[in-house]
Amino acid sequence: MNDSFWQAAYIIAALCVVLSIKWLNSPVTARRGVLAGEFGMLLAVVGTLLRHEIVSYEWIVIAFVAGAAVGAPLAYLMPMTSVPQLTALSHAFGALAAALVGSAEYFKDVADGHPTTGFKMVAIVIESLLGYLTTTASVMAFGKLQEIVPTRPLTYKGQNFVNLLLFAFAAVLGVWMIMEPTPGWVFPTFTALSLLFGVLLILPIGGGDMPTVIALLNSYAGAACAAMGFALENRLLIIAGALNASSGFILSVIMCKAMNRSFTNVLFGAFGQAQTATASAASSKPVRSATAEDAAAILESARRVVVIPGYGMAVAQAQHKMRELSDVLGKRGVQVDFAIHPVAGRMPGHMNVLLAEADIPYDRLHEMEDINPDFPEVDVALVIGANDVVNPVARHDKNSPIYGMPILDADKAHTVMIIKRSMNPGFAGIDNELYYLDKTLMLFGDAKGFTGEIIKALSANK
């Protein structure tokens, strides 16, 4: 097969990849984007298989079948609450694939008797370093999300120094390999250091910071793919990798802003320190609580209700009950909207997926900046499973760990209702001022059960 076939296939694939992300800008065209991506992938794979240097197919076919056999059940069986875990795993797989190809390239050149140096080695070094460290870092992130690994930050004295030293050592080996052919132990050592560095990178990061970390690892995995493109002189890989890297980068910046983390913190992966909770003693200030019947009566007489969901709602699997409640209220002429904080879920956009799964139409889901100006006209802000993202302390208390974090202005609504199991503070361990306001009603109970009781009370007062 002549070269122009696969070259044309690659160019069209590149176009498909770009269109795929472009069409994701709206839910209306998004599925077309997936199709474009799939078509591009098909062209790229078929084009590659037809290249004349590919002589053996058996192993490749076996690998295809094995990959599909693992991938398909993962995609269909993962519950939506576990999408962050699946994403972390796919960063690990993608990065590992890139790193393995880098290693394979290296060993091929060694076997050919002309070890790589210079520019191609720069690409292989970057590809392997990013690839291997992202692999172990993603596995660690997966472990923290799945709570196999302790979610609290693991820190020790001199941690940053140890990490820096390790990284410097890896960098020195990398530069050495770029400058001249090296002894056989250098590349495997470099690989081991990269793998270890990935683990150490995630240790000090708390479970609550995982949205940022996942986005950052997404970016690293993309960068590894782009570096592979340089090593293989394959521009399709450069384009796809660059798109993925910039996507992960933007998402991590958005997550950072939403948690009021500085940008340098992201780049050096040194976040997590600020999270060491300054657990204030649970205050004994009085709160007002209410029953499901009271809550039902208030909700029924409201004109506009804004629900503020947090990850706690998803943990309690209360999103379906919440949709039922919004349907019942909607039938009685109450406008029910959902206000989504960027860090409401476990990864960027996670809460939107969870609510969409519960059949809540997406035009009811509003981003923080869009809905915040509306709160003074909102009759009831119903907070369910969220805590820090509605804490007014973030606005004015300079000593608070969450000071400066943008929040949803629930306190500006006429009435605030909070469904909560008990008065325990949230993951940042900070007392929430919102609970003690005169207009706040605490609804103590399990998120799913209590929502069910409100629905029952509503249908009783028909």
Partner: protein
Amino acid sequence: MSNEIEISLYVLVLAVPLGLELVRRVSPLLHTPLMSLTNAISAISVVGAILVAGNGGSPLLSKILGTIAVMFATINIVAGFLITDRMLKMFKKKETVSK
């Protein structure tokens, strides 16, 4: 600097701003599907893995590493596209939600 490298660098400096611009336009509503889709797309690295695994000139070690890479990339392609579509199917506008 060889011609090949120069072209690759041009591609990179064009692709990065294009990516930033495209992603900025993606609705925050779809950030999770965006991440799973870009994961699937960057698994186009399967191309590189195939080139190493199927190349007659590769030593055995490189073939093995390449084949494992093909498998992992394929997991990402299959799982990435399928779960993205599964999520996007759930996003419905008001009229289309069963009433």
